[in-house]
């Protein structure tokens, strides 16, 4: 009886572990690894390559027009970028919308580069399964933090991490 209980408990623990492992999203697994490089066309018409931002702290944000939290997050990130741009902080907003027109309309007037990933290749490269996703990349091009989702107040945490990377 005791042995059966022990087997049952160990089975439950294994299931629990598997479930926990499953909840760690693929995007967060990029932490500590070199940020996958990509080149995309921006709405300004220029092509931008991530590796050309080496030496700067990059906030790479994946968003879509239909995602309200994404727009709220971009507003906060944009303010942070304007504040720390001279210190070497850049915001790259990657739209995963299929329609470029809609994304371009929503992001019109943005002070930061907005890129369009119509084929979703970069989204796949970063294993974006939720929205929004903000990947914080340090000056050496290494993924330091991955934030999934956005709630009011998260910006304080972003700020803390960005400031820490600037101090390095």
């Amino acid at each position: 009886m005791k042995e059966r209980m022990r087997a049952l408990w160990s089975g439950a623990a294994l299931v629990g572990l598997l479930v926990a492992a499953g909840t760690v999203s693929a995007a967060t697994q990029l932490k500590g690894a070199e940020a996958p490089d990509f080149a995309l066309k921006s709405f300004s018409g220029k092509n931008l390559r991530l590796s050309e931002y080496r030496g700067e702290v990059v906030m790479l944000s994946f968003w879509a027009t239909w995602c309200g939290d994404c727009r709220a997050q971009l507003t906060e990130l944009s303010a942070m970028r304007d504040r720390y741009q001279d210190a070497g902080v850049e915001l790259l907003a990657v739209s995963l919308d299929q329609s470029a027109r809609q994304a371009s309309e929503v992001s019109a007037g943005a002070s930061y580069p907005v890129l369009h990933d119509a084929a979703g290749e970069v989204g796949r490269l970063y294993d974006v399964t939720k929205m929004p996703v903000m990947v914080l990349i340090d000056r050496d091009g290494v993924v330091r933090e991955v934030f999934e989702g956005f709630k009011r107040g998260n910006e304080a945490e972003y700020l803390k991490h960005v400031q820490a990377l600037l101090r390095e």
């Binding site: 080149a39 092509n47 390559r49």
Partner: protein, 200 residues
């Protein structure tokens, strides 16, 4: 007899123990005798430390050099293994002048299969204009006839969107094959020109 033997052994032991002490003291005595200023031991120490640092620095530089050499050898080895010379095919992109064409992207097809699609940033286009050559593709092709099609997109004269293709049918022999895609200006026609060249 025994007492004599003990006495001789103890003298020998004493001599052995005292020898290093005497040896250690000797340089101090010499220094004192030479009447060198008091700060000289420190200066000596500093000089010694400097030499030590220099040697350490040289060691670090040497290690860095070795790591770079090793990295280069590994890179060459990897290329040789992945792309053996009998099947190796490489395609390069270069630009000459570029007054009539602003490069945006190049799409490369070999035997009707997409093998490369490259988007150029402003910095990369500038590098090409300054004489840089980019290796767009490296892969393996078996010996025989192959067809290469390169599609260039960008801005042509009067900042108009421009899309042009260039193709080449080439024979892959037993040695490596190098092909260059060159974008140049044709002054007489005021148009860009796209050439595909085979390197011998």
């Amino acid at each position: 007899m025994l007492a004599k033997w003990i006495a001789s052994v103890s003298v020998a032991v004493l001599a052995a123990v005292a020898a290093p002490v005497i040896a250690q003291e000797a340089p101090t005595q010499t220094v004192a005798a030479a009447a060198v200023p008091q700060f000289s031991p420190r200066a000596d120490e500093a000089a010694e430390q400097r030499t030590e640092f220099r040697t350490l620095d040289e060691d670090v530089q040497d290690l860095k050099k070795q790591a770079l050499d090793l990295n280069r050898d590994l890179f060459l080895l990897e290329e040789e293994l992945l792309f053996p010379s009998n099947t190796q095919t490489a395609v390069f992109v270069s630009m000459d002048v570029g007054e009539f064409f602003g490069l945006d992207s190049v799409e490369l097809k070999i035997d009707n299969k997409d093998v490369a699609n490259y988007l150029y940033t402003e910095r990369e286009s500038e590098a090409l204009l300054k004489g840089g050559v980019q290796r767009l593709f490296i892969g393996n092709l078996k010996a025989g006839e192959h067809e290469l099609v390169a599609v260039f997109t960008g801005q042509g004269p009067h900042t108009r969107d421009y899309r042009r293709a260039a193709s080449l049918v080439f024979e892959k022999g037993i040695g490596p094959k190098y092909i260059e895609l060159t974008i140049s200006d044709r002054e007489t026609k005021q148009q860009p020109e796209f050439l595909v060249k085979e390197w011998e």
